[in-house]
């Protein structure tokens, strides 16, 4: 069964408090090489049918309208898993 991967990230311009807190934690383990962390989401959508361009377009709409909020997030990737 094919799986479609959708990735969503908070918009670049927005503060990402969870990423900031994680960055501070990671920085305790390094020599100062880590400067920033941003946390996004990865959705693995399993299908019971072959992936068609129409279906991919439909998933794109769902990614834009449901899986992400375009005010605060961007859909950064939609691709079929190997």
């Amino acid at each position: 069964m094919p799986t479609v991967i959708v990735e969503v990230m908070p918009k670049e311009v927005l503060l990402d408090p969870a990423g900031k807190a994680t960055a501070r934690a990671l920085q305790r383990f390094g020599d100062g090489e880590i400067t920033d962390v941003r946390i996004g989401k990865r959705f693995e959508i399993t299908l019971n049918t072959d992936v068609t361009p129409e279906l991919l377009e439909h998933i794109g709409e769902l990614a834009r309208d449901v899986l992400s909020n375009q005010v605060i997030e961007d859909v950064t990737s939609i691709h079929v898993a190997d």
């Binding site: 503060l15 408090p17 449901v66 899986l67 909020n69 005010v71």
Partner: protein, 231 residues
């Protein structure tokens, strides 16, 4: 006047909202997220809590739940709708109000008695306040940071759609100290703080006397005496 309160899985303050309606003199009506029936209510409240565990994004799954189709339709026809805290997040996710709400800039959950200024009284939910009135009602959230792009923010300010602004302390990093918003028509209002927790002396925030604050009650009275929408 019948005022509905929608309960979602994970709603917390639905009972408090029903009680606030009753104390204001209205008839509270419980509504269920999985129905397609608003039971003919005259106004509607989306309460606080953590609908659907706040999975995906706060309010996002609730915004796509069955009853919301009727809510969006009714709101667009002028039905008064108030979103409190998680309810504000639901209204934003349902595109009934502008902007977005993200995690507090300091990263922690906050609970405090919050001072606000009423910035707009031409709405179904604020018409018994005085313009510029300072009120204190409880605030409790982890993701209450209001954000919008520059263009949207300019429009919200220009059209006077900011309805409540944080005073003294900005508790979550909200842009322009925005605590609550209205839509252009004035029937839909959303805010992060909780008016339903400040409706009865003895159970509200501290005011003249301990826990005597009832500054939230006027919001529920406003919708009962609403003259804005009948204009």
């Amino acid at each position: 006047m019948r005022v509905g309160v929608i309960t979602f899985p994970g709603s917390l303050d639905d009972r408090d909202a029903l009680r606030a309606v009753r104390l204001a003199g209205g008839e509270p009506v419980s509504l269920w997220h999985d129905d397609h029936d608003l039971q003919g209510v005259d106004a509607l409240i989306i309460p606080g809590g953590f609908s659907y565990g706040d999975y995906l994004r706060c309010g996002a799954i609730a915004a796509h739940s069955p009853i919301m189709r009727e809510v969006i339709d009714a709101a667009n026809k002028g039905l008064p709708v108030l979103g409190i805290c998680n309810g504000f997040q639901v209204l934003v996710e349902a595109h009934l109000l502008d902007g977005g709400l993200i995690r507090n800039d300091h990263g922690t959950f906050i609970r405090r008695d919050q001072k606000l200024r009423v910035e707009n009284v031409d709405t179904a939910w604020t018409n018994t306040y005085e313009l510029g009135q300072e009120i204190t009602i409880p605030l409790k959230n982890g993701e209450g940071g209001f954000i919008a792009d520059d263009e949207t923010l300019k429009r919200l300010e220009g059209e006077g759609l900011v309805t409540f602004r944080y005073l003294d302390v900005n508790p979550n990093g909200s842009l322009n100290d925005i605590a609550g918003l209205r839509n252009a028509r004035g029937n839909v209002v959303g805010l992060m703080p909780h008016p339903e927790h400040a409706v009865e002396a003895g159970f509200g925030p501290d005011a003249d006397r301990m826990q005597s604050g009832t500054d939230g009650l006027a919001m529920f009275v406003s919708v009962l005496t609403d003259t804005v929408l009948s204009k």
